[in-house]
């Protein structure tokens, strides 16, 4: 149909309409042709109805939808089909994955140094993190193996008499039976005393002196789940003369014979072996190699199981499901008050799962359990692990973004040939995952390599693949995954955003501006950690040094101590004169080590006592010659003398005691300790009987029998003295008990074992973090030097000196380190102060420590950066300007 040319040009209008359709990317040409045909039919139809062309066109258009809506509809239809336009690549392309791997490996190979720094840094960080997590997991695993672990509690006694607090794991002996009778929530109980060494096993002529015992109630093996190899946990300790041995001890005593049912001597009694249990797991707070019924202690030791004042058993109870511990605590306290109306303090339940990590303030001597954990350290180390991992990740991210910037062209190319942003993100995340898992592999290898050292450091046997350590394996995987996600996410997002045209035209080639700020923040963060750790390590070191070098107020060196058994007890003077015949032995004495006053009593009285003053005083039994060995200093008066009659009724107190008692001119006044009344004849200068964690406590010394012999010798030939003491031991004590000795200064060293261990671990981790931070800085410095090659070349051509350029490059890093210091100081100050609060005697947190660590960090940073700076500064400018 040929239309006349009027004012309205139908063809032109249709062409315009088609143009709007073509703008929609969802409509294909065939679709448009079809729609055009439809429109024309509609127009014809309208014209047939009598409209003119223009009106027909408008009417037809009205029925049709606007182009954009049409496009949307087609798009919806497409979504339904889940098809993609032919020019889009499919989502999964196996061939490309291979290309990604190939490129990733090729990049690793091409930038060997860079990759090494990157992977090594991450691997080391991960290894450290894994090591710490192994330790943490081990610490948390204590006592969890008991079946009813969540229902087992230990009764703790808190004694607040005399103005001081003394918390111990012992509780009144008859409390357990009373609870069963009167408190329905309590299902079962057991009394335990463990590790105490005055009970010895004999079998024929063999003596087993180094074994740990546990004197326990009959329900012990019902409550605690120590697996039996032979015997019945329920009945094993029913009979008074029964004993349960661990597998190892049974083997030691009876060899390959079956120990079950055999008779063995415990001191003077015949005991039947009624059970053999597996060796006690290391992560048990109870440690023993044999267990026997606690009733026997009534015979051998005057411990009355039904005496309320006797509190040297640890009592464990099992509560019924759903019992309210607060309620039980209240009922328990009521019972205790009924029987001990004058008690000051309280009794309460401590959950079994807290025993290992939350008992540092509780005295547990009756359980011989010295290796208590400390929840603070668990938190501290977990935090450290997290920080180290974070540090390593930051490094990895930093180096990756720096390096990936050189791959802008690759990104541009990939985009031009059709890679979508999501493809690129996938590629880079995959690449970082590849690197991370490579690092993880190396980390596992490193962990295996360093575990023996770490085991020694931590003081316990640990392994990566231990039974029950599946959590660590799972954790490893998660660590790797998280690491790759964190470290890969930034480069992935950052790089994939490159505009292909700009990249290929070399505009904003490295995206330097955006990456730069974040990178600076990351470096500062890294150095903040490092400086914080340096400060903490320094504080720990200084405090340890302070504690180990503080004058305790008495001699500690060249003193051997051993048990004052038999002849040493009954005939001390004769033994002493025989010992002194050895020219290398200077002095001897008997008693206890200088007392700490921790075990005090408020049953004291003195002349002119103000009734409102209550003082808890510790006792220090000693021989007359005590000062000859320990060289304690007198502040006033005199020490005991054998020449003076009745001197053994007198008392010598320390300055703290006198101060606490508010006494004036104490010499000559009377003093009474648990009913033993005597005269105060002297005042000792204060000395540290226990570690510097504790303040000096009031102490009263008097001549009395002590369990220990002390021998002071001339420095030099220790082995000769020891063999001499051994022959004398055999003479005075006998050969049936082995000669065991201790050095006083070694014992004192042990006071700070935990701190030493922590200090050591901290030192290692500090070195590690410094190393990781340096790796990062080194990589970054080399990258920045490379990026500024041209600038440096131009500066040199214009007359800049090498030193000036080196300074220019170094200055920037110095600035960051300074900022890091400012951030690190308050945090480190707070943490250190918190830690130092645990010591009654501590160092001052001076500014020197902070300045020192700042300088160390600065020196390390400068050392790391200067190599690259110098290299860049001394390079030939011509080469620099020809670069690219």
């Amino acid at each position: 149909m040929i239309e006349e040319k009027k004012m309205f040009d139908l063809e032109k209008e249709i062409r315009n309409w088609l143009r709007t359709l073509r703008r929609s990317e969802n409509l294909e040409d065939s679709d448009i042709a079809e729609l055009e045909s439809h429109l024309r039919d509609e127009i014809d139809h309208q014209i047939e109805r009598g409209l003119d062309e223009e009106a027909a066109f408008r009417a037809a258009l009205e029925k049709s939808a606007p182009a954009d809506i049409l496009g949307q509809e087609y798009d919806k239809a497409k979504l339904y089909e889940r098809s993609r336009p032919y020019w889009h690549p499919s989502r999964i392309m196996p061939a490309l994955v291979w290309s990604y791997v190939k490129i990733a490996l090729r990049k690793i190979k091409r930038h060997k140094g860079f990759s090494l720094i990157n992977i090594a840094g991450l691997a080391i960080g991960m290894a450290a993190c894994i090591l710490i997590l192994i330790w943490v997991q081990d610490e948390l695993s204590y006592d969890r193996f008991h079946k009813n672990a969540d229902r087992i509690f230990r009764i703790i006694t808190k004694d607040t008499s005399g103005g001081t607090t003394f918390i111990q794991a012992g509780s009144p002996a008859p409390l357990g039976p009373a609870l069963i009778e009167e408190v329905p929530e309590v299902e079962n109980f057991v009394r335990v005393q463990a590790g105490w060494g005055n009970w010895h096993l004999h079998h024929g002529d063999d003596r087993f002196l180094d074994e740990y015992l546990a004197a326990v109630g009959p329900a012990f093996f019902e409550i605690f789940h120590f697996p039996f190899i032979k015997g019945d946990p329920k009945t094993a300790l029913k009979d008074r003369y029964s004993v349960v041995l661990t597998e190892d001890l049974a083997k030691k005593i009876f060899g390959d014979e079956d120990a079950f049912g055999k008779i063995i001597q415990l001191n003077d009694a015949n005991m039947t072996v009624t059970g053999i249990i597996e060796n006690i797991p290391r992560n048990s707070h109870l440690h023993f190699t044999f267990a026997f019924p606690v009733v026997n202690m009534t015979k051998w030791r005057e411990s009355k199981l039904d005496e309320w004042a006797y509190d040297q058993f640890a009592t464990y109870v099992v509560l019924r499901r759903g019992a309210d511990t607060v309620e039980v605590n209240r009922k328990m306290m009521d019972i205790v008050i009924q029987h001990l109306p004058n008690i000051q303090g309280s009794v309460y339940l401590q959950p079994l799962k807290d025993l290992h990590l939350r008992s540092t303030h509780i005295n547990t001597w009756m359980l011989a359990y010295p290796n208590k954990g400390n929840i603070t350290y668990v938190y501290l180390f977990s935090l450290t692990a997290f920080c180290i991992l974070l540090l390593a990740c930051i490094n990895f991210m930093n180096l990756s973004t720096a390096r990936y910037a050189t791959r802008a062209k690759e990104v541009g190319m990939r985009k031009v040939v059709g890679a979508r942003r999501s493809d690129l993100i996938k590629q880079f995340l995959g690449e970082s995952a590849l690197l991370t898992f490579l690092a993880l592999l190396i980390a596992v290898f490193l962990v295996e390599l360093s575990l023996p050292t770490f085991t020694r450091l931590a003081g316990k046997e640990m392994s990566l693949i231990q039974s029950g350590n599946w959590r660590i394996l799972a954790g490893l995987f998660i660590i790797a995954l998280v690491t790759s996600l964190i470290s890969g996410s930034y480069p992935a997002v950052f790089l994939s955003a490159f505009h292909p045209v700009k990249v290929l035209k070399n505009i904003d080639l490295l995206g330097a501006r955006r990456g730069g700020a974040l990178r600076k923040v990351l470096v500062v963060l890294q150095f903040t950690f490092t400086i914080g750790l340096i400060i903490c390590t320094a504080v720990i070191y200084l405090q340890l040094h302070f504690m180990q070098n503080r004058d305790l107020g008495y001699d500690t060196e060249h003193i051997i101590s051993f048990a004052a058994y038999n002849g040493y007890r009954t005939n001390y003077e004769a033994a002493k004169s025989e010992l002194l015949q050895n020219p290398n032995i200077i002095a001897t004495c008997r008693g206890f080590p200088p007392p700490s006053g921790e075990w005090g009593t408020t049953e004291v009285d003195w002349e002119g006592k103000d009734p409102s003053v209550e003082v808890k005083i510790g006792e220090g039994p000693c021989s007359y010659d005590y000062l000859e060995v320990f060289n304690l200093k007198m502040a006033e008066g005199r020490f005991f003398s054998q020449e003076l009659a009745n001197d053994d009724r007198n008392w010598v107190l320390n300055e703290t005691a006198i101060k606490a008692m508010e006494m004036e001119d104490p010499i000559g006044k009377w003093f009474s300790f648990m009913g033993q009344k005597g005269t105060i004849i002297g005042i000792l200068k204060d000395f540290h009987g226990s570690s510097l964690h504790n303040p000096i406590a009031p102490v009263a010394m008097h001549p009395a029998e002590g369990f220990h012999m002390f021998v002071k010798y001339r420095p030099g030939n220790v082995s000769e003295i020891l063999s001499f003491l051994k022959t004398k031991w055999d003479k005075f004590v006998g050969t049936h008990i082995s000669f065991r000795y201790e050095f006083i200064d070694e014992n004192i060293e042990n006071w700070y074992k935990t701190e030493q261990r922590i200090g050591k671990i901290f030192r290692y981790f500090t070195i590690l973090t410094v190393f990781i931070a340096c790796l990062g800085l080194f990589g970054l410095a080399s990258f920045m030097a490379e990026r500024r090659t041209k600038e440096i070349g131009i500066r040199k051509v214009l007359g800049a000196r090498a030193s000036g350029i080196a300074l220019l490059l170094t200055k920037e890093f110095a600035k960051w380190v300074v900022v890091a210091n400012v951030v690190a100081w308050p945090a480190a100050y707070f943490a250190s102060r918190q830690w130092l609060k645990g010591f009654a005697y501590r160092i001052d947190l001076g500014w020197e420590i902070f300045v020192f660590s700042a300088l160390v960090a600065l020196a390390i940073a400068m050392g790391t950066v200067s190599y690259q700076s110098l290299k860049a500064a001394t390079a030939n400018p011509v080469r620099a300007l020809r670069y690219e």
Binding site: A33, L35, H38, R40, S64, L70, Y74
Partner: protein, 113 residues
């Protein structure tokens, strides 16, 4: 009478298939026939029909070919495939069972008190 959007959307496919079962046809004509048959109740617009046709073609229910009309106009004719027939069969059964259920329910009109 307005038919709801969802019902229209749901019925488009079976209606197109039913129209094409009697022979090939092009878009505009399909719209006209549906309008006639429904007594004007179903008046489809192009933006509804063509994308659906496209989808059905990609789904293998229809095939299309271009023909030039006597007037010289390009027209895209759609024809049902074997798969389309099967689809229609299953659609028919579904619709009939719905229809049956509704008619049974509605036969004795609920008494309006």
């Amino acid at each position: 009478m307005m038919i709801s959007k969802t019902l229209i959307a749901a019925s488009t496919k079976p209606i197109i298939l039913s129209v094409l079962i009697s022979g090939e046809d092009y878009g505009y004509q399909i719209i006209q026939r549906v309008k006639e048959i429904s007594g004007g109740a179903l008046e489809w617009s192009d933006n509804m029909l063509y994308p659906v046709l496209r989808r059905m073609e990609k789904g293998g229910l229809l095939v299309s070919r271009w023909k030039i009309s006597k007037k010289g106009r390009l027209r895209r004719y759609y024809r049902i495939t074997e798969q389309g027939r099967e689809e229609l069969d299953s659609e028919r059964r579904q619709w009939l069972s719905v229809h049956q259920a509704l008619s049974r329910l509605w036969k004795p009109l609920p008494s309006l008190k």
